[in-house]
Symmetry: C2
Subunit: 229 residues, 2 copies
């Protein structure tokens, strides 16, 4: 049995959980409180970050490495969900947009929001915990608007974010947005096309598990798990 070490409101962990869901990749999901810097976890991944996938004793750390690992070990399988298209240009576009969310959006929006509103509640003072920084949160909430319009702009030109078929790009974008949505920080009214795209991806079986989870002490808004929000 494979094991995925993750954190419930870590957007990169959510991305990989969606990826594993789409692949039907059997695994056990184990929550890791990265800020505790547990020794056995640091042996698996000296960088101390989630997600980490462990299969047959091999630890694969980080979202990009997990995607590359799955594609390289199973990409040719008949039951591949086809999340990475054929052709250099299409693959560049899928990776470019997945990267946009896994790095840029993470840095500008989902990372700060999750850190300030959630992580800092669970961390001790000596681990960097405490009250949320309001300026950081306000900046993230301002930034999310242009990312939402970027999604709307892309979807005005294609059926899915990086082309005709659903890909890693859609799963990455949706994972990051789902964290912000749990925290009530997505201004959906600002972009109808982005909202309709999210409703489409939200109704996928791979998304159900995420939508059903609740974090102790942090309640999502009513529309969060509603498929017709």
């Amino acid at each position: 049995m494979s094991t995925l070490y993750h954190s419930p409101l870590c957007p990169l962990s959510r991305f990989i959980r969606l990826v594993l869901g789409e692949w039907g990749f059997e695994h056990e999901a184990v929550e890791e409180r990265v800020w505790e810097r547990r020794h056995d976890f640091l042996v698996l991944n000296p960088a101390g970050t989630v997600p980490v996938l462990v299969e047959d004793g091999l630890a694969v750390p980080g979202a990009d490495l997990i995607v590359a690992y799955i594609e390289e070990t199973r990409g040719q399988a008949l039951d591949s969900p086809g999340l990475m298209p054929e052709g250099a240009a299409r693959r560049v576009e899928v990776r470019r947009i997945a990267d946009w969310f896994n790095r840029k959006f993470h840095e500008e929006v989902s990372g700060p929001l999750a850190h300030e509103k959630v992580m800092k509640r669970f961390m001790g003072r000596d681990q960097g915990g405490g009250s949320p920084d309001m300026i950081s949160m306000r900046t993230a909430r301002a930034n999310i608007r242009y990312h939402l319009h970027y999604i709307g702009w892309l979807i005005g030109r294609r059926h899915w974010l990086a082309g005709d078929r659903i890909s890693y790009a859609d799963l990455a974008a949706a994972a990051h947005l789902s964290v912000c949505d749990y925290l009530g920080d997505v201004p959906w009214d600002e972009d109808e096309a982005a909202k309709l795209w999210y409703a489409r991806i939200k109704s996928r079986p791979s998304f159900r598990l995420l939508l059903g989870e609740r974090l102790r002490g942090v309640t999502p808004p009513v529309h969060y798990a509603d498929l017709d929000f």
Copy 2:
């Protein structure tokens, strides 16, 4: 002819220049001042970052995407320099260590040093330019020590950073260190094994071009281009 948009002391740009050098990948290198946010460059890469490789009209943005693009389009060629080994476990290790430097070291050391000591000199006040932040620089200089020991520790167990052969991991680590070394911020005396590994990689033909370049107004220490430093 392909074009590489880069910035001289951007460690990710240097990494890709080493990669292209090892591959003997013919290209024209064009310096991009990313902080000017030039329109035609933003069309190539909306994220506005370097490096970007353009081949046959296809823009490939970011170090990870460029490596994946080259491996996928030329990986099976007879003249491949073999920077990515066969076998899932070996590939994970190469990617893990390349990632360690391209993300963690970049965030903790080479990014802040290059930004504070170089970029801010060339940027206007309204672009975020100005005098370097001393606390940020001091933190980066403290962080570099444990990364140097990590290199020494790895090299005590293997011939190159991720295994028996030189790989993307070595090029990534060396690219980031070369930026810090240009700025005189590598305490080489702290780890003899790391220093000997760097001397080995520094003597490769792909490294020569980088070592010969000088940035106007920023002079590297005498040992910087010395192969027997």
